[in-house]
Symmetry: C2
């Protein structure tokens, strides 16, 4: 289903980048699922993380309504992109249609997702290992983006994926690669954040690394630094990221 509130624009590289950023910089999302009892759509709130291939992940209680719904029907929709000051509809937001894949607790995938999720949501350590809590991978099938009034785009699921033969390697070596990068540039997180949003006085950290870029965190603010191209090897990723430098604007 396309969100054609306005004339549909051609989905170019810039639109795809904005869509990926809206999905990957969201700390939480509205999720819509199908109520197995009534067939009604059901909207609720979930904490959001991402897997190494860019697939959004959620951590949910087995007793919650959305979990029981996903067990009955894997179709779900995520709304990401929060409004700021002024008209809420002037802010870009993304609707991603997904199919939910439960994550087996004893799998390598679970360990990887758990680590990435905790880096982003430190307070989740209070309940992440409760026996009734589980992860789902929500694999994007298609998406529609409303970039603000008059700017609507349709995307494919693949537009939101990080396709790289190096995904597993980077997942396994992420800590090591980051250590090397920070040895070379201790201000990497700050440089990446300020390149995206200009100078501030916040303390920035890195809470995620994948072949598509960096997740940056400062308290409750999450930013996504998207690389122009997806790295196809760990050394290519290292090379791309080590080029990030914040240049103070010359007035």
């Amino acid at each position: 289903m396309k969100d054609q509130a306005s004339v549909l624009r051609e989905t170019d590289g810039e639109a795809r980048k904005l869509a990926r950023t809206l999905l990957r910089s969201a700390r939480y999302a509205a999720i819509a699922v199908l109520d197995p009892e009534t067939g009604f759509p059901f909207a609720s709130r979930v904490l959001l993380g991402t897997d190494i291939d860019g697939v959004p992940v959620i951590l949910v209680s087995g007793l919650s309504a959305h979990t029981r719904a996903l067990d009955a029907d894997v179709r779900a929709s995520l709304l990401t992109g929060e409004p700021g000051k002024g008209d809420p509809l002037a802010y870009a937001r993304l609707t991603t249609q997904c199919r939910a894949e439960p994550v087996d607790r004893d799998s390598v995938v679970h360990a990887r997702i758990r680590g990435r999720f905790l880096n982003r949501h430190a307070k989740a350590k209070l309940y992440i290992d409760f026996p009734d809590f589980r992860f789902f991978r929500l694999v994007p099938q298609s998406a529609s983006m409303n970039g603000g009034f008059g700017r609507a785009y349709v995307l494919e699921g693949a537009d939101l994926a990080i396709r790289s033969s190096a995904n597993e390697t980077v997942a396994a070596q992420a800590d090591e690669i980051l250590r090397d990068l920070l040895d070379k540039n201790p201000d990497l997180a700050r440089d990446a954040a300020l390149t995206l949003k200009g100078a501030d006085h916040k303390i920035w950290g890195i809470c995620g690394l994948d072949c598509g870029g960096l997740d940056l965190i400062s308290g409750e603010i999450l930013l996504r630094y998207e690389l122009e191209t997806v790295a196809q090897s760990a050394s290519e990723l290292y090379s791309h990221i080590s080029k990030i430098k914040y240049a103070i604007p010359q007035i």
Copy 2:
């Protein structure tokens, strides 16, 4: 479908009041509808208002995905209650299952809803009368509230309604009643807002009046002042509201 992430609590008067407040103080909401082409749930963002009977209303373009979905299937779900600082899941939120009723543009109901909506969303005057824009009343059928970790409640649609034989009278005379109330207490909006949230330096106005209470606005902040009981006449409403006074706390 009940959100039983935590032990379900008894739905008492306090829980009902919180639920009504979450619905009536929301400037916008996530709406979940059913995609008529794929059957997927579809989550998007809408501006929210209320009708005189407490029923939430949305203003939507006929070209948007959610409008086409509601034309095909009236079942919808609204998520209201935005998070603030800290863990997003620590903040109360409400999922309301609704049936959508299109509002005929030439009806008295349309004129009433349009006026109330513009009082709340002044910038909507730019497009509210565009020929492809329409209102839907989203009549609550049931709701589930998550009041933060460990506090889940189930509500009936009727818990979110303003049932009063004076609804139509108050809708017709709202401006006049407000003028009388403000003659008596020019600080009414400020008194009501400060009673709810303590002293601040904002300028408060009233953007809605109904038999259940007042909608208060300051820039982009909306507050709901809920009366303890629904007024059954215009004079009873006047009497309830004229008693609102902010008492500076004695330290």
